[in-house]
Each structure stands twice: as structure tokens, then as C-alpha cells.
């Protein structure tokens, strides 16, 4: 069992948890992920490691409540425990040797993009962080992102923070204004990552994306996370989760990511009903 030592609500739909997992904390690196199972009846879901404390033996995860498992996870409080917490899995991001990077996060993806910005910054690269949210009221990790970058560009779909537009608008603007990026890291919803890759392809800038695929074991056994990269079948859990975004078959990934969408909506709806009934009692 893995105890939750701290829980923080980042906005209405996103939560940060600090979990006591000393073995995982000892080896965790930026870009890697964990798999957790809340209870005996639960699914195994992958979540990227948002931060870690080797001495304290803790690992931070940030998740968005999208399905039953994340809703269930969010019902746990400080002092409660998660049944299984496995990691660190996947390859660490390769961030060495870059001069000037743009790190792009979309919504919940900012939780994963921000540690990449932090790592790049620590390695001596100049870092522009571009973060996109639907609206101002759901912006998360603003201080952290600011601290991890040289410039932070916060964009909102509805312009409620005064900067209306997509992350790709800010990226294009910076490139057009002369920013000589030698690396772009894009993490967020698949359509966003695809749009960023289409843009950076135009300019010939190397782009790393992080896959958050459907997985079970996370050790290469099930093959559920397979993704076509440069015409080859790769497994996000052992070959990734980072891939060269210009080689990823996004259209296939986007379809695969919806495999259980209907079932997930249904089970999340049922679970929400149950939570509401419990609250009424």
C-alpha cells in the first residue's frame, strides 16, 4: 500500500497527490511514469511522474478527473493509501545538449510539461514555456511554470486571461519573431500535439511528444500502448513514452485512444451518481 501524504486541488478537475513510494522516488527521472491501481477492483492506469523527492521518498502525480478511476482516486484523502503504485516506468526524457527549448503544455499536460521545462532549465538551456488552457479559471501551476522557464506564455482558448489563442499561435509568433529553438517539447491532448508537430515540421525543429496511451502492465507485455512511429510498431511503455513527434502516426493514436471512450463515460456517469447518492445520505 502506498500512502498519500499530501493532496492539493489544483482546479475543479485537477488534483495533485504526493505519494510515499520510496523505491520509485529513488530512481524516478523526468519523463517517466507510474502505473497505479486504486483498489482490488480497479483498473491499472498510467500517470506521468510530475515530481519526486528522493530523500523524502515521495512521488508527485497530477491527474484530471476524466473517468471512473480518476474520480475514485480523487475520493482518497491524505493518510489514505493507493493499493498499487508501480514505477518508474518508461525511458527518461533525453534533454541534454539543447540551447533553447520551447516547452508546450496543454491543460492537464502542463503537469507533465512543467517538469520537462524544469529539467531543461537545470541543464542550462534557455526555456520558453507555452501553456494553453480553456479559460483563466482553470490555469494550474502558474508559479511553478514561471520558475522553471525564462519566459512563460499563458494562452487561453476564450481569451479570459487577456491572451486569446492556441499554444501553436504563441509558438508561431515566437519563431517568426526570431526565437531559434533547437527543441520543442509538446505535451497535452493529442490534437494539440499533432498541431504543434505540423507547425514545427514546417520550420524543421526537432519535437518530442509524450504518449499517454492505454496500457495494462507498463512493462512491454500487453502491447496495448503500441503506436506507429516512422512506420514501425513501438510500445509507449518501454520504447517511450517520449517519441519524435514528426514520426508519430497521430491519426491512428487518436482513434485508438477512444477505444473505451463510451464505456468510460458510462462508468464515470454511474460512479458520479453513486457519489451523489452517498453525499445525500
Amino acid at each position: 500500500m502506498f500512502q498519500i501524504v499530501q493532496k492539493k486541488r489544483l482546479n475543479d478537475s485537477m488534483t495533485q497527490m504526493r505519494v510515499a513510494a520510496p523505491f520509485v522516488a529513488r530512481k524516478a527521472q523526468a519523463g517517466q511514469f507510474i502505473i497505479l491501481r486504486v483498489n482490488e477492483y480497479g483498473e491499472r492506469i498510467p500517470l506521468t511522474i510530475a515530481d519526486y523527492d528522493r530523500e523524502g521518498g515521495t512521488v508527485d502525480i497530477i491527474f484530471q478527473k476524466v473517468g471512473k478511476t480518476t474520480l475514485l482516486l480523487d475520493t482518497l484523502e491524505e493518510g489514505d493509501a493507493i493499493l498499487d503504485f508501480i514505477g518508474p516506468l518508461g525511458k527518461a526524457s533525453e534533454l541534454e545538449g539543447y540551447q533553447y527549448a520551447a516547452v508546450i503544455g496543454g491543460g492537464a499536460g502542463c503537469a507533465i510539461a512543467y517538469p520537462q521545462a524544469k529539467a531543461l532549465h537545470a541543464l542550462g538551456a534557455k526555456v520558453d514555456m507555452i501553456a494553453g488552457f480553456r479559460s483563466q479559471d482553470i490555469i494550474i501551476l502558474e508559479d511553478e511554470m514561471k520558475a522553471a522557464s525564462d519566459n512563460l506564455y499563458l494562452m487561453t482558448d476564450d481569451g479570459s486571461n487577456g491572451h486569446k489563442g492556441f499554444v501553436t499561435d504563441a509558438l508561431r509568433q515566437n519563431i517568426e519573431a526570431g526565437a531559434k529553438y533547437d527543441l520543442v517539447v509538446a505535451i497535452g491532448p493529442l490534437p494539440m500535439m499533432k498541431a504543434v508537430c505540423n507547425l514545427t515540421k514546417e520550420y524543421g525543429i526537432k519535437t518530442i511528444i509524450s504518449m499517454n496511451s492505454i496500457m495494462i502492465d507498463g512493462t512491454g507485455m500487453c502491447g496495448g500502448c503500441r503506436v506507429t512511429v516512422g512506420g514501425e510498431t513501438k510500445f509507449a511503455c518501454v520504447d517511450g513514452p517520449d517519441f519524435d513527434g514528426h514520426l508519430v502516426d497521430f491519426d491512428e493514436v487518436m482513434k485508438r485512444s477512444k477505444t473505451y471512450a463510451e464505456m468510460e463515460r458510462e462508468s464515470a456517469r454511474e460512479f458520479n451518481c453513486r457519489l451523489m447518492k452517498q453525499a445525500e445520505q
Partner: protein, 463 residues
């Protein structure tokens, strides 16, 4: 006077049209009377050819003689001298190509039902024995076992019996490996596997789950932590695909994923959250036991039509005869000499059909089986909503890629001496699918057993 009946005592089974709608075990097991009667068919040959056919050398006539005398617990004690997983072996071993293929009774008539008797004895012990497994006196030496599948459990059990302090590191949340995630409930109930694992724990074996060795700890770190020898039984990992168009479609599964969702993650039980596509029409590609398991599982999830698509003929199928027989009984349709060339989907990327081509057999290939050749222009469409690829696995790369000096072959299998199971690294032994590529439970157990013996000799030679 031996029972000279020419045929085996039939195994009571659930009726095919009943069992293909449930996940309960197909074979119901012998009664005491049946077991005693079958045991009496054994001639107790002096030269014991059956024992030579067993990868773990179970003293077969000896345990059967006890059964014939109704000494079931004594029979169990004989069995466990050789195998730590008798309830498993009795169910999933390919006896027809091993012990039973050597049985003298098989020359005229059917061999003794050795597997069925083994299963009976193990089940009888689980149901009737109150004796807790004995903990051997510890010798103070620590051994790490990586993985908790059949090779590892055997190695751990043997080492514990010798007095070693054994710690098993399992990557998944449950020990058992392929016995838990791969082989379905209806062929090997998970409660049985769990009992065998509990027995190992009672013997003093420590089992740590959620530990992905290679990631969370390296072999080097395990040695530094005081383990004197390490056994690697990390299994066959990466599922193979055909590399034909459409394998990325929604509804295309590896057999590993499909079976893991159902077996380990219990997607067939409503109280579990695991999602799975419940197909109407499923095609399973492959001709091994895993393909049969996937097909019969798809049927049990409610599929109307389930096809086995196999490019050779039935004679070349690697699956056990019994699995093929059971699958046919349950209404699985065999599309033999048929090879998929593409999987097609709709605008949402969901599988709608499998395009296949007919094959014919040519000259034998390197494997000794006749090579299938495409019949030009014979393409046809099989309408399906689920395609399950069951054409084998490659070894898991996590340990070889994180262990300097651990030699692997061209296929990524760990190189180990066939007799001692020693790898290229001193103190590191390996067996099972990680060494052989996808094979059987019992072969893995045989390797684990030899490795335990070598580890004992290795540690003794050092101290």
C-alpha cells in the same frame, strides 16, 4: 491385478454448450473412485519410461501406486518432491507429448491418464490436508528471484526447501505470471494458482509485487543488497504482430492484452472496472494454446462467431490436441490454410473485417513443418469486429537492457547453459520463456528446477 481397460477413465467435463457461456473450469476432475480405477491401469514398469518424458522428473509410477492404494496424501508427498506446482501441471502440461507419450499402456490403447491423476492428487491435498507446508531451517543465504511465473516459482520453491532465504520480485500486482494473466480461469482457476503461491509463502518465500526489476532496482543493486545469487525468470514479454495494415485499429488486440484484461484484470466480472471489447465476431490469428485460449475466451464473452485463422493445417498446429478438441466442441470455427493480409476498419478506426488469403502447403521449412504458400487471387473478407493476434512473444527486454554483461541471442533471449541455466554473469541464472522464447509452463519449471540446483552448488562453492 492391474485394470486392463484399454481407454483412460474419461474426465468429467461441463457440457460444451453450457461451458462456452461461463468461465468455470471445463474439466471437473476425477472422483476418488475414478482416480483409483485409473491408477490401477499403471503397470508400474521397472524402467519407468514415463519419468524420462517429464521435464521435472516426477516419480510417476510411485505416486500412482499410492493412489491405487487410496493413499492420496502419500501420493501428494511423492509429487511435491519433484514439482512445486502439481495442481497447475496436472491441468496445463502437454502430457500427450511428454510422460503419457512414453507410457507402455499407450502402445495398445490409451496411456494412463497421468495428468488427470496428478491433478486429482493435488486437488485432494488442497481440499483435505490440514498440514501446513513445512518451513525449512534457514541457511542464512539470500537469493533473489525475478518474476513470479512458473520458472521462478519452481526455482524459489526448491531453494526454500534447501533453506535459502528467497525473495521473489514481481512486476505485476499479483504473483503467478502467465498462470495468472495468460491462462484462462476455465482452464486453470486462479484460486488454485493462488493456493500454490500461498504454499510457497508458508514455506518462507518472500514475494514482493509491484517491483519492476531493471527499473526500480538493477541486478547490480540486488547483489549490493546482499543477494548472493539471482534467478531471472522474467518471461516472454513483447507480443509479436504480423506487421500487416490495420493492426493499430480499435478492436485489434494482442492475445496478451486480451487475455490479461480478462484473466488478471477480470474484465468478465461486473464488479471489476476493466474495460474490454465484447466482440460479436472475432478472428484469432495463430494456432497455439494461446490462440485457443483467446478464442474460447471471446466465445465466453458472448461472441457469436469465433474464428481461428491459421496459415497451416491442423496437423501443424502447435496447440495441445485437447485444447483444439475443446475449442471445436465449444463452436470455434477453424479457418485453416488461411492467412490474414490486412485488417480493415470503418471511419472511426474500428475493425470491420479481416482480409485473408488461402494457403497451400509446400516443402518442409527450417522448423520441419510444411511451408505455407499463398494461393494467388484467393483473397476473401471475413466480417469481424475484433482481431486477436496470437502469434507468439519476444522476450522482455527490461533486464537485458539494464544489465551490463548479460548476454542475449539474436532473438533477445537470455543466453543460459542448458544444463546449469548459468548466464554470462557469475551468480546470475535464468530459465523459462526469457531464455527459450515462448514455450510451455512445464519446460519453464524444468529450467527453474535445474537453476535452483546450480544456485545451491554455486553458493556452497563460495562459502
Amino acid at each position: 491385478m492391474p485394470n486392463m481397460t484399454m481407454t483412460k477413465t474419461p474426465m468429467p467435463e461441463q457440457k460444451p454448450d453450457v461451458r462456452n457461456h461461463n468461465f468455470e473450469e471445463v474439466a471437473l476432475g476425477y472422483t476418488e473412485e475414478m482416480a483409483v480405477g485409473e491408477a490401477q491401469r499403471c503397470l508400474n514398469c521397472k524402467n519407468k519410461p514415463c519419468v524420462g518424458g517429464c521435464p521435472v522428473m516426477v516419480p510417476i509410477p510411485e505416486f500412482i501406486a499410492h493412489v491405487a492404494k487410496r493413499e492420496f496424501e502419500e501420493a501428494y508427498q511423492v509429487l511435491t518432491r519433484a514439482t512445486s506446482l502439481p495442481a497447475v501441471c496436472g491441468r496445463v502440461c502437454p502430457q500427450e507429448t511428454q510422460c503419457e507419450s512414453k507410457c507402455v499402456r499407450g502402445i495398445k490403447g490409451e496411456p494412463v491418464g497421468i495428468g488427470r491423476l496428478e491433478r486429482f492428487v493435488a486437488d485432494w491435498h488442497m481440499a483435505n490436508s490440514k498440514e501446513a507446508p513445512k518451513k525449512s531451517e534457514t541457511n542464512g543465504h539470500k537469493v533473489a528471484v525475478i518474476g513470479a511465473g512458473p520458472a521462478s516459482l519452481t526455482c524459489a520453491g526448491d531453494l526454500a526447501n534447501m533453506g535459502y532465504e528467497v525473495t521473489v520480485f514481481e512486476a505485476l500486482h499479483t504473483a503467478g505470471g502467465v498462470l495468472m494473466y495468460g491462462i484462462p480461469q476455465f482452464r486453470l482457476p486462479k484460486e488454485i494458482v493462488q493456493k500454490e503461491i500461498d504454499g510457497l509463502r508458508a514455506k518462507g518465500v518472500t514475494i514482493l509485487t509491484d517491483m519492476v526489476i531493471g527499473k526500480v532496482l538493477t541486478l547490480e543493486e540486488l547483489f549490493a543488497d546482499g543477494f548472493e545469487a539471482i534467478f531471472v525468470g522474467s518471461g516472454a514479454g513483447l507480443p509479436n504482430f504480423m506487421h500487416i495494415p490495420g493492426e493499430g485499429l480499435v478492436g485489434a488486440y494482442s492475445a496478451n492484452e486480451f487475455l490479461t484484461r480478462v484473466n488478471l484484470m477480470k474484465a468478465y466480472r461486473p464488479e471489476y472496472d476493466t474495460p474490454i471489447i465484447r466482440p460479436k465476431n472475432a478472428a484469432i490469428v495463430g494456432g497455439g494454446n494461446v490462440a485457443m485460449d483467446a478464442a474460447r475466451t471471446a466465445k465466453r464473452l458472448g461472441a457469436e462467431n469465433v474464428y481461428i485463422v491459421y496459415r497451416r493445417s491442423e496437423a501443424e498446429m502447435p496447440a495441445r490436441a485437447e485444447e483444439i478438441h475443446h475449442a471445436k466442441e465449444e463452436g470455434i470455427e477453424f479457418r485453416l490454410l488461411t492467412n490474414p493480409v490486412a485488417i480493415h476498419g470503418d471511419e472511426n478506426g474500428r475493425v470491420t473485417s479481416m482480409e485473408c488469403v488461402e494457403m497451400e502447403l509446400g516443402e518442409p521449412d527450417a522448423s520441419g513443418r510444411r511451408r505455407p504458400i499463398e494461393k494467388k487471387g484467393s483473397n476473401f473478407e471475413l466480417p469481424i469486429d475484433c482481431a486477436i493476434i496470437a502469434i507468439g512473444n519476444s522476450p522482455n527486454p527490461l533486464i537485458p537492457t539494464t544489465t551490463a554483461g548479460l548476454e542475449v541471442n539474436r532473438r533477445g533471449c537470455i543466453v543460459a547453459d542448458e544444463e546449469t541455466m548459468a548466464t554470462s554473469l557469475p551468480g546470475v541464472y535464468a530459465a523459462g520463456d526469457a531464455v527459450s522464447g515462448a514455450a510451455t509452463v512445464i519446460l519453464a519449471m524444468g529450467g527453474g528446477k535445474r537453476a535452483a540446483k546450480s544456485i545451491d552448488e554455486y553458493i556452497k562453492s563460495k562459502s
